[in-house]
């Protein structure tokens, strides 16, 4: 899960990385950087679709993200070797 500020909500950490590190170091092609929070969740589920559904339900019910300011993207993959 990647939780990040919605478009239009300023994100000062990414701005600082952009202005004070990246842009000063010759990477002028980089236009924007947004920092966020990353959670890797291991789920036991019969198939990827139901795993995704479960995680989305958890995010919404427990307010893992604050819908006033954040968006939450859930992407899914298999645990290597299982």
């Amino acid at each position: 899960m990647v939780i990040s500020n919605k478009p239009g909500v300023r994100e000062p950490e990414g701005e600082t990385i952009l202005h004070d590190l990246v842009a000063k170091s010759g990477f002028e092609q980089v236009e924007s950087i947004r920092a966020g929070k990353y959670l890797r969740v291991k789920v036991v589920a019969p198939d990827p679709a139901s795993a995704k559904k479960l995680v989305e339900k958890m995010c919404n019910e427990l307010r893992i993200f604050n819908p006033a300011a954040h968006s939450c993207e859930v992407s899914i993959g298999r645990v290597p070797g299982q």
Binding site: P12, R63, N66, H70
Partner: protein, 239 residues
Amino acid sequence: MRVAVIRFPGSNCDLDMMAALKTIKGIEPDLVWHEDAALGRGGYGAVILPGGFAFADRLRAGAIAANSPAMAGVKRLADRGVPVLGVCNGFQILVESGLLPGALLRNSTLKFVCKWTHVRVENTRTPFTSGLSEGQVLSMPIAHGEGRFFLPHAELAELEKNGQVAFRYCDSSGRTTPGSNPTGTLHNIAGVCNKAGNVVGLMPHPERAAEALLSPLGHPDGALVLSSLLVRSGGRRRA
């Protein structure tokens, strides 16, 4: 009036809040542990969520505490119109529990800001501003890293229209200038209330400004916020 001060693991302003409340004649505070869904001995006339770093701010400031058993009890009381105040981390918990709208994001400076501020009273219909007058300027300190109040544009306009902004950062003469905004908070917002007005959150610490000795200006302004609990709107003292 009996007041419950909810203590979460990581609260660190709970005892200061208790001490400040004890200086106000007519208020009898109790500490209540966050796992106590029944809220101690019950019968509270108000609830206060103090500042600190509940659950070490993990996930997001206030996000885990918002699901503590005591918060179910706080919601029940809030729905019945009982006054609820969240200070600093307590404000973050109220926002994360959905009792107040919006989000408190990282300060635009990315810095933890610890300083005395001026705030202007924007509305006196809440139980924590009823002893104050509109436009009154108070001096109270802030100490937080996540206090930038945010709401999407349309919802912010609605909040303003409903008069739900309780306090705004200002300069010493009450002007809300960019220079008096310590965190990049939208519209200089330092405190808001719910639609009904009984749930209030504010980032500055009234308990740290509750005695003249604590204030660089010698003004016990924080006590005026807390003692408002004993004043009905219209200025009469509550029985």
